[in-house]
Structure formats: structure tokens, C-alpha cells
Symmetry: C3
Subunit: 253 residues, 3 copies
Amino acid sequence: MEQEVMNRVMEEVMRRLGGASSAAVPGSGLAGIGVTEFVGTAIGDTIGLVIANLEPRIVEKLGWDPRFRSVGIISDRVGAGPQIMAADEAVKATNTEVVLLELPRDTKGGAGHGCLILLGAEDVSDARRAVEVALKDLERTFGDVYADEAGHLEFQYTARASYACHKAFGLIVGAPAGIGVVMTDIALKSAEVEMLFYSTPTKGCTYTNEVVMGFTGDSGAVRQAVIAAREVGLKLLSAMGSKPSSVSGKPYI
Amino acid sequence: MEQEVMNRVMEEVMRRLGGASSAAVPGSGLAGIGVTEFVGTAIGDTIGLVIANLEPRIVEKLGWDPRFRSVGIISDRVGAGPQIMAADEAVKATNTEVVLLELPRDTKGGAGHGCLILLGAEDVSDARRAVEVALKDLERTFGDVYADEAGHLEFQYTARASYACHKAFGLIVGAPAGIGVVMTDIALKSAEVEMLFYSTPTKGCTYTNEVVMGFTGDSGAVRQAVIAAREVGLKLLSAMGSKPSSVSGKPYI
Amino acid sequence: MEQEVMNRVMEEVMRRLGGASSAAVPGSGLAGIGVTEFVGTAIGDTIGLVIANLEPRIVEKLGWDPRFRSVGIISDRVGAGPQIMAADEAVKATNTEVVLLELPRDTKGGAGHGCLILLGAEDVSDARRAVEVALKDLERTFGDVYADEAGHLEFQYTARASYACHKAFGLIVGAPAGIGVVMTDIALKSAEVEMLFYSTPTKGCTYTNEVVMGFTGDSGAVRQAVIAAREVGLKLLSAMGSKPSSVSGKPYI
């Protein structure tokens, strides 16, 4: 009985705390809540919204081409990489552009970022469709995000990112940051890949406890680099806490 | 019995975590603790302090007019808007000035700011009185702060803020930030109001997961804009988690 | 029985949350985990790592003298002062230099910093030894870190810091920041000491809710200033929450 009480309490605690692994609301929330702007919610405490005709004073303030009057909004508490990758899929699938991308320091007490992405469109149906595509893709892009109470690791791989010039793109994130240093070192040594960017807590990250590297190369090489880094990262994070598990439960790399 | 254990455990957990809604210590702490600088504590994990004659090397370092030798201190873990509004009341009621205002990234794992406000005075009794006024006012200014495990919303309204040029002043905060985008869009469309400032996570906020807008106008219009935004914000935040409730339990707008 | 369940649940909750006082893994983790880079873990959610020959593209990106090919890594979620003091001991004891020091906003939902320190060496055995020295020293340097659910206080004292020019060095940290203002005021008034640096949430800190002061002077004066500040700080933090306790349980000042 005690164990049962304990389990129920832990579930309740984790639900209230809304940590990455528990607050996930996979693909839910497409039902109406009486707000026309609402599109849905998804894993990573993500909400998807759409505004048909954003107030021109806000557009002017945030500073983008005013012909993008409609905006799709991807906003979340937990994660930036998964949402950015999902938004990239959405941009490729619809007639939209990323008009704003800001990364708060968040993850609800975790070591990483949250995310605010605005997708501009001339037509509201494009904006809405983009948000729907992104929300749906989050279950996939959270597949290789691993978290435990000590930190998190993230891996992304795509054979054709819009920002990677017709090459494959890989992303490695390690938190705490020291694990990121080791993982990125291993990735660069394990295959012929080229560094695109390298961020540390105060240079490139918004004071998160992360090292983040984006890189490119032939698809086989990028994949190999990601897998080599992941193997070591999971062992290191395990040494600090419990065994980290995939946030969505479905690794894809 | 199980339910009772569960309730007690949840209370204890929430107390230890000190979340916004639980760690509130409304108006308590005016009793002495054997430290002359101590004035009291209040909701939002706020502490009020006073220093009769602040060390000149600190005044010089922080850089304000040295005739303000006395300082009242409002320092908190949870919230910035409520403390700033309360400090504004205190400044209007006493012979003090805001000599320092800094917003850490805090809320104890939440999506927002904490706050450090120093109120300078030539006389220590003014500084102390200002802190007392501010602490007492916090229960009111937290009335339209709504929080749940997914985020928070804040609304402030005053017919006569010291910084709003004889007009009414309204403040809208939404976290996660995307909800703030929708709420501010609705506010600007729902009444004849003028934007004073608009902050996003990395522009104007200290990496919080918020969109913040201050605005002004006739008192009826400002009030109407706040109420329209609040109605939609509460629905959107509810869609991400449980129904958000007023932090102090006493909405005032 | 209820009490027993409650205690077990609280332990489990605190373990999962990995707060400063519970996630401490004092001196553990020196056993192998099958990763050559792993050195060990320690209190403050700290991991120690070593890379024999860091990828030159990372060295170039982070920008230090390439003759430091080996790096020791001290990376943690909770605390910066204790890790910096411990790294200073390590640098004095080995042939290494601090080549990178960055302070994320962290402490797992607490009010302070985490830390990423890279110690460069020409020889991997020096880098490894430095990490071992630092990890071992953390139990001492966490001795005068006091935390409760409302905030934390940190005090450091050394008769001979490498960066304090042959004088004694003292460090005072208060969170929330207002407590730091009072403590540093008291420290400067209580003994003949000289301010080295003074940091507030947005000036010198990475948006933490802290005031931090480093200072120097004769060893007796520095010690006296630290002790005077600690006495008041502990009372103030207690007024906001429960009685704060030493993170390692072994105060040294």
C-alpha cells in the first residue's frame, strides 16, 4: 500500500512540477477551448497559436516585413532544438517564414531553453497549417532528447535542413555544459564533419547550462558523429543521476 | 487516509518548493528577528529591508546621488510587476525615489522575473515607511497574477501611475511568451490605448519566457483592454495545464 | 506510519528534484563508467571530466593558447563560488591554468549560478590531477554555503587566493539579492577591508537573484567581515523560510 501511495504522490508531484518528461502532452489539445487563436498543445509544454491579422503596432515593434500579417506561434517552456527542428519542417511544408526566434532561459528549473517562434504568412491558412505541422512533428523531434534530474542531452539529425545548404545537419546539446564539451569533442573526432556553430552558456546560449554544436557533412558522417556523441553522453549523464530516458519515448536517430 | 497523507505531502512539497502560489507569506513577518535592517516579508517570497546609512562605497559602486544615504529594499524571488507597482505606491506616499531596479531571472523555476528595488531617501524613516507601504500593497498587486504549473499571467491597472503622465496605466504579462503575444494583440485591438513598451524574452526581459506590454490611455479604455486580454489569457493557459488561480486570491481589476 | 511514508516521499521528491542540499554526491563516482573522460562527481551536482587532446577546432573556437591541448573540466548545476574556489586550489597545486570560466543561470530552479570551468594543461596528467583536487575540495568549499527553500547564502575565505595579490580574500553571496545588499553593507562596516568587485543581478551576475562581493584585506579583517555578514544573513534568510543549513554540513569559516 505504501508503495502505491508513494507512486500516486510522485505522479501528482511530477505533474504539478510539470517537468520535461511528465508535462508532455503529446499531440493533444486540438479540441476547441473557445479561443480562435488556439491551435493545440504538444510535448515540451508547447502551445501552438495563430493570429490572422497581427496588430500592426506589434509587427512594427518586433520588426518584420508587414506583408506577413498572419503569424503562427510556437511557444514552449521546455526545449528549443525540438521546436526549431519542427518549425523547420513546417516552413518547408508551407508558405511561411520564421520572422522571430527567441530563446528564453527556461525548462522549468531545468538546465536549458524554452522557445518562442513566430512564423509569418500572408495568408492565415498557411500560418495555421504551419503550426499544425510543427506541433505534430514534436513527438519525433523530442525522440532523441534524454533527460533525468541531473541534466539533459539532445540530438537532432536531418538529411536536408533548410539552413544547412543541401547537406545533412546534426545538432548536439549537453547539459550540464561539461558533458557538451566532451560530446562535441567526440563528434568532431569520430567523423568528417564541419562545425557550423558552437555555443556555450554565455556565448550563444541565453545563460543555459549547455554546450550546443550544430554541424554539417555527408549524411553518413553526420549520423555517425551524433551516434558516437550520444553513446558517451548517456553514460556521463547517468553517472550524475538516474538513467536518462527519451522524452517522447521514441528515439529516431 | 491515503488521500489525507497525499494532501499533507503535497502541502509539504509545495511549501519546500516555494512556488508562487504556496510560498506566499501575506503580510507576515513584521515581528522582530533581532536584525535592525529587517522590516518584514510578504507574498511572492518578498523581503523588505532598510539600511539607515548605506556604506558609501556601495552607493558609489551602484551609482546614485549620495544624498540618498538611506535605502529601503524590496527584494523577492517571485514577481517583478507586483513589486514595481507596490513600490510606485510607496514612492507616491513617501519622500523616496527608486534608485535601483534590477530584474533577475527567477520565480523559482517558473517562467518569470524576481526583483530588486532600492528606494533612496535622505531620512531613514522615509525609507522604512516606503518599504512598509510596498509590502502591504503586495496583496493587492498580486490579485491579478494568475499561475499554474504551465505558466503565469499578470495584469495591472492604475488610474494614476507616476510614470504614465497623468493617464491610466495598464500592464499585461503572459508566460509562456506566446500567450503574451495573443493577449497583447487582443488588448491593442479591443480599446483605444497606446503602447508604452513591449518586451520579449531577449529584448527587454532578462531571458524570461514572457511577453510584457505596458500601455496607457483613458482609464476606461485601459481597463477594457486589460479585461479583454485576461479573458483569453486564462483560457489559453488553462489549455496547457490546470485552471490558473489568483496568487493572492483577490483579483482587483 | 504516515510520518514514515511522508519522509520517504520527501526524500524521493527531493532526490528527483535534485536540489542543492539533496543532490549532493559527496566525493562519489570515482569508479569507472566506461568513459575515459570521466573523472568523478561531487557535491553541487558537479561532474569532473578530462580530455587528453581537445579537438583543435574547439580550442580555436573558445580561444585560448593552443599549447594547452589537455583540459580538465569542472561542470556543475549548483554553485559557482565553491567550484571557483576549488579550481583555484587545483591551479595552485598543479601545472594548469583556467582557460575558460562561464557561469550559466542555474541552481536547478534556485536563485544562483551553475559553473563551467576549463583548466588547460600541456600534459593530460596535470589536467586530470587538477580535476581530482578540485572535486575533493568541494566538500570544504560548500561548507559555508547555506540554503533553504527561500534562497541561499555563500561565504568563502582564504588567506591566499591566487587572484588576491598576497592578501586574504573573502566572498559574500546573498540570494535573494536584497539580503546580499545588507550583508555586504555590514561586511564593509565591520572591518578594514577593500572591495574587489560587487555584482548585482544584471551587472556582473548572469541574471541570478544575487548580490556578490569579493574583497581583500588582512586575514583577520576579512574573516571578521565574513563572520559578521554571515550572522545577519542567516537570520534574514530564516525570516523568509526555514532555517538554512550548510550544504555540506561542515562550515569551515
